[in-house]
């Protein structure tokens, strides 16, 4: 017997529900693209901060450089840095992109006493909070400081 019945109401509702569920991951992927670009922006700013700090430390004389690195061994807000504060006062500076961005400097010594008097490794780590999350991301740059310029 041929049935002339169309779809029932409940079938249409279920179809709509399935379509909605199927489209949602597509929309979240668009949102994740935005988060990716935001993260890339933070990476670039953090890279600039790390490069600048490393350059500042590398131009100091050997002993002074080592002392300064040890002094900056704990997590410090980028905006709390004295040079940063002094320079940011020169223009209408907007510090929102540096919100809760920290830096830290690690010193790694060579294995032997003789090598220790000639070089050490400086590692600058810059970290920032991930949006809508309690986690933090970071990037590090390393350089070797030599006692005499090579």
């Amino acid at each position: 017997m041929k049935s002339d019945k169309g779809m029932s109401f409940i079938e249409i509702i279920i179809t709509l529900f399935i379509v909605t569920v199927a489209v949602l991951p597509l929309l979240t992927s668009i949102g994740s693209t935005g988060r990716g670009v935001y993260s890339m922006g933070k990476h670039q700013i953090a890279g600039l901060v790390a490069r600048s700090l490393l350059d500042r430390l590398m131009q100091l004389p050997f002993a002074e450089c080592r002392n300064k690195c040890l002094e900056l061994g704990s997590e410090t807000l980028v905006t709390a840095d004295a040079d940063f504060a002094r320079l940011s006062a020169l223009i209408a500076f907007d510090a929102k992109d540096y919100d809760r961005m920290n830096f830290k400097v690690n010193v790694t010594d060579a294995s032997t006493a003789e090598e220790q008097s000639l070089m050490f490794v400086i590692e600058v780590t810059v970290s920032w909070p991930v949006a809508n999350s309690n986690t933090r991301r970071d990037l590090s740059f390393r350089a070797i400081k030599y006692e005499t310029r090579i």
Binding site: I13, I30, V37, I45, S88
Partner: protein
């Protein structure tokens, strides 16, 4: 006896249609909101990318030049919007000058070597403020500090985007700074 034909082709009731339309409209409204916020997010992201590209090009250019700095020609005390120095590039001495041009919202890079001088604008139309500060101690160039405000304009849907940066640049091949020998 004639068999009575039973018509079983029932249509939707008015109530079902109204409820169905309501659900479709709700879904449409939520989708359009999500799509529009996603569009704005993408627009904001593209502004951020534009700023990053600008920052990268300006910072990279200055860093590469200052790395080869041999001698400071004109320090920044008198005019913090201008910095002039000599570099040694491929066995020829080149005088470089960076100057913030407020009217063009950009940094002008002038290169003066033995041949014809060349110049190009960096970040034209996007740099709102720029301050150079050269640190010269005991006649020796230590580093160049830069504070800069970058800006990209808004469109109908998204707000302006600004980025403030502080950067330090050092040289690998400095000579003492002798201001009395500086070129005019």
């Amino acid at each position: 006896m004639k068999h009575a034909f039973k018509n079983n082709r029932q249509a939707f009731t008015l109530l079902e249609l109204i409820v169905g339309l309501l659900i479709v409209m709700l879904i449409y409204a939520s989708f359009s909101r999500i799509f529009s916020s996603s569009g704005q997010q993408i627009e904001k992201s593209s502004r951020m990318l534009e700023l990053q590209g600008l920052l990268d090009s300006v910072e990279h250019c200055i860093r590469e030049d200052v790395r080869k700095l041999k001698r400071v020609e004109l320090s920044t005390e008198a005019n913090p919007g201008r910095f002039c120095f000599m570099i040694s590039d491929a066995d020829k001495v080149v005088r470089l000058e960076y100057e913030f041009i407020a009217a063009r919202k950009g940094i002008l890079r002038r290169e003066l070597s033995a041949g014809a001088p060349t110049s190009r604008m960096l970040g034209e139309g996007h740099i709102l403020a720029c301050v150079f500060e050269a640190l010269v101690t005991d006649g020796q160039f230590k580093r160049l500090d830069l504070a800069m405000n970058l800006h990209v304009d808004s469109n109908a849907e998204t707000a302006d985007r600004d980025l403030s940066v502080i950067a330090h640049f050092t040289s690998r091949c400095t000579d003492p700074y002798l201001p009395w020998l500086a070129a005019p």
